[in-house]
Amino acid sequence: MDTGELKRQWVGKTFDTVSFEIEAETMLQFALACGEELPRYTDPEDPDFQAVPNYTSCFHGTRTLPEGFPMNMEESFDGGKCVEWKAPIRAGDTITAQSHLHDVYEKTGRSGGMVFIVHRMQFTNQNQKLVAVVDWKMIRKTG
């Protein structure tokens, strides 16, 4: 497997686009599940009511990898998500998420070799304002 070639061929190309309607009740339940207590996250009547910063981590597209991606990731494991907050998400917003592969790289650790596939979702609102970027790492052991 040549990760350099994978990177050249697959990184940076949008392969999935989905839209979500943002509802106050769902925002509230997510905030409470996170243990939030600030009114701007837990009180829909608060004038600054908005989604908690990591809210976009719960959204998924229609596919994990581009069609035809040559690496079998069925035996991969979840390397976690990194959420970069850009702007508030409000109740009633329409959020569009576009997915592309952001990076493919290898590393070695005490447990052996690994390939990292970084799936990036960029979230914009109905005003085309970027509200969040979520990087999801998928890790496959190679030895």
């Binding site: 790289y105 290898e106 590393k107 070695t108 650790g109 005490r110 447990s111 990292f116």
Partner: protein, 216 residues
């Protein structure tokens, strides 16, 4: 002079610490350290400039790299553009001999790190790949080591007569300065650090009860 010679910032893929937060932590916790070296994984961070943080916090902040070879991970101090052109820092199967030779040729020094660590430490590969020529210094105290990994490294250093350094290998703020290196000379920049390491004017130390203790 005490420097932590092995640390990672958010520039590394698995680093979770901002450099400013390292500085704040060192000052807040009064860690008796003069500075640290950012040894980012598989790259050299050309872009970042930490001079304002150095001035603000009174710390020396230097940049180096941690690359991956068939003998495990290696810290490279004194990275230049010429050295970056000599081999691909992002590859995980670099030749240790090449990293050692090219680093020397370009005025730097390569130091195998956490040599006692399974798979990514030099000790694990000497048995199958043979002894390594050209190593003069290894990291014998690593803040991320488990079990007897540091002891294995110290045994290797004793057997081969290597000079020794220490580093926290911190990826999160609270780990900075767990281990460090006492330099016999004052260093103000990377060139002076490389010169000090090449002279062997260094020893690995660990922080216990707010004092630096030589490795046992």
């Amino acid at each position: 002079m005490i420097l932590d010679l092995h640390s990672h910032s958010t520039v590394s893929d698995d680093g979770r610490a901002k450099v400013e937060n390292y500085c704040q932590w060192i000052k807040r916790k009064e860690i008796p350290i003069d500075g640290f070296v950012l040894t980012e994984h598989r790259l050299y961070d050309d872009a970042s400039d930490y001079r304002s943080l150095e001035d603000q916090f009174g710390l020396l902040i230097l940049k180096a790299s941690e690359v991956e070879t068939e003998y495990g991970h290696v810290l490279v101090f004194g990275v230049t553009q010429e050295l970056q052109a000599a081999f691909n820092f992002s590859q995980i199967n670099l030749s240790l001999a090449t990293v050692l030779e090219e680093s020397e040729r370009c005025g730097g020094i390569a130091v195998p790190c956490h040599p006692g660590r399974p798979r990514v430490g030099m000790c694990a590969h000497i048995g199958t790949r043979g002894e390594v020529e050209g190593v003069r210094t290894i990291e014998t105290l690593n803040g991320g080591s488990r079990g007897n990994e540091n002891e294995q490294a110290a045994s290797l250093a004793a057997r081969k007569g290597y000079a020794r350094i220490g580093g926290s290998d911190s990826h999160i703020v609270s780990h900075i300065g767990r281990c460090a290196t006492r330099l016999h000379a004052e260093v103000r920049d990377m060139n002076e650090l490389v010169a000090s390491l090449k002279e062997g004017g260094c020893e690995a130390v660990k922080l216990e009860d707010r004092a630096w203790i030589p490795e046992s």
